[in-house]
Symmetry: C2
Subunit: 315 residues, 2 copies
């Protein structure tokens, strides 16, 4: 698998790209798009003045706008890089300014609710190709982004039936240029897959970090000191952006609730095995789970180094 | 905090050190002890012939024994580095061969049950200083060990009331020489602290990986492909040694069951917040959990780099 970005294109894919929201994802797209010459002009839009000023300082785009309706004018590709709860209102806000034939996309971790919230506002002369790059870190903001964030990561597209095939291919080409691998699926299936691979893991991580913080007989300092026994692995994703994750749980409610209920059933069985000394049941599960990690490593989605390749001191 | 081991000692701390079990922990102690000259002679003991042969190939010790009772003879320091379920039987097996004044220790992740299983067998002319180095990786076996495994990690000692203070100080000096920071606490408190910082996190990780593997409407390949959304973080600890972890859950049952029940209560509240659209409750928890990670990083138990410092491709 490649470990660097490709060469810059001779001809850009789009003439004017608007990125709304200059957080981790938006600023990473900006960096990659400029590095690879994917757009003639990159427009950065953020309603937060500090974020916008910082993006300008970092030289992330060619033009900077606080007002989204103003910023998207004449753009042939517009990507919403905001928490999923903000997508609907934002679509409504920019609808009147969208150029004829413009492609509109997003990067939301939930697709069903986002599509439902955005679609009604988008004019018929635009093409809506929802996207979800399955990539990120626990960091937020324009300084956290980097151009290789999407390299070898999957980007899921969930276009509705009948969407212009040319527009879908352009969005595919854009993400593939940034190193992503593309999968196309329905929005409901996306939401189910992500509930188990991303949303419920985050919920459980947030939950156990909260449980640990609330112990009376174990101090927070003890939790911190002895976290290398496993706990610290959970704290990374439990340090993710609170607004983004609140929105995800509220908008992918159904699939998340179904997965929690399955998780609970399995945990009840496991708890029962502990209570009744069923060592074989424990051993069986603990052996089975090893193979999944091997699959993730061989599919290039994880480092093979022990301990995530955390910096290891020298002898 | 130091990021290398210190200089080798002029005079070793012990004359003859026996390590029973040459897995990740035993082989790491062997490497560090030899590197730092902590023992005049290092004796490696393993009932598995392949492991013993490999340890010899790697040059991890000066002498190699399959039989523990034979191997511990004339040793002034004996450390059991085996799954906690094996500690009691092993103590019984070596009891008759232990030298007068020998210090006996272990590295078990559970202390109450291990102490209860070992103590009755150990002769009065020995000193029992149970220890738990809170360090490890998801790997097992003699090849997985490395000399700096314990550097800046905590090692918890749980000596019983009345144990010879000189023996405790020698064990402390041994671990400190390998770079560990020492804390002394009671066995029951240890077991409670570790239940929340290590055992229940492992259980939950094993559980969710199992839940994901059992989905009918999401394929295992999909789980693997899209694991970068959070799931892959759980798979690391769910790839840990099954025997070791089976034993931990069976021997620290009470504390683990208490923590699961707290975890479940909290998850029920969180699930309810999702069902009833209580965004504020979600946002509050998700903000609170960030501070714990900062504490873990500033206490030197975790890397500050995003994504655990996983290898990041270059632009």
């Amino acid at each position: 698998m490649p470990d660097t970005l490709g060469e810059p294109r001779g001809e850009p894919l789009f003439s004017r790209l608007a990125l709304i929201g200059m957080g981790l994802i938006g600023s990473s797209i900006a960096r990659a798009a400029r590095h690879l010459n994917l757009a003639g002009t990159v427009v950065a839009i953020d309603r937060d003045e500090e974020t916008l000023a910082r993006s300008a300082e970092l030289g992330l785009a060619d033009a900077f706008f606080k007002d989204a309706a103003e910023g998207v004018r004449d753009c042939d590709f517009v990507i919403l890089c905001v928490p999923v709860g903000a997508c609907g209102p934002l679509a409504k806000q920019i609808a009147g300014s969208l150029a004829h034939g413009a492609i509109v996309s997003d990067v939301g971790s939930v697709k069903g609710a986002v599509v439902a919230a955005m679609e009604p506002h988008l004019p018929a002369h635009t093409h809506f190709v929802p996207a979800h790059p399955v990539a990120g870190t626990e960091r937020s903001g324009p300084d956290a982004g980097f151009a290789t964030l999407f390299l070898n990561r999957w980007c899921i597209l969930t276009p509705a039936y009948g969407v212009d095939a040319g527009a879908v291919e352009q969005v595919r080409a854009f993400w593939e240029a940034m190193g992503s691998r593309i999968e196309i699926m329905s929005a409901p299936h996306h939401d189910l897959v992500l509930a188990i691979t991303s949303h419920v893991p985050h919920l459980i991580a947030y939950n156990i970090v909260g449980t640990a913080a609330d112990m009376e007989r174990v101090t927070e300092l003890e939790v911190i000191k002895f976290s290398a026994g496993g706990f610290r692995d959970f704290t990374r994703i439990a340090a993710s952006d609170p607004t983004m994750w609140r929105d995800i749980f509220l908008t992918n409610k159904e699939a998340v609730l179904e997965m929690i209920s399955r998780f609970n059933e399995d945990l009840a069985a496991l708890t029962r095995a502990i209570r009744w000394d069923d060592g074989d049941a424990l051993f069986d599960l603990f052996s089975r789970t090893r193979t999944i990690r091997r699959g993730i490593i061989s599919e290039g989605q994880e480092t093979a180094e022990p301990d995530f390749g955390r910096r290891r001191p020298e002898e």
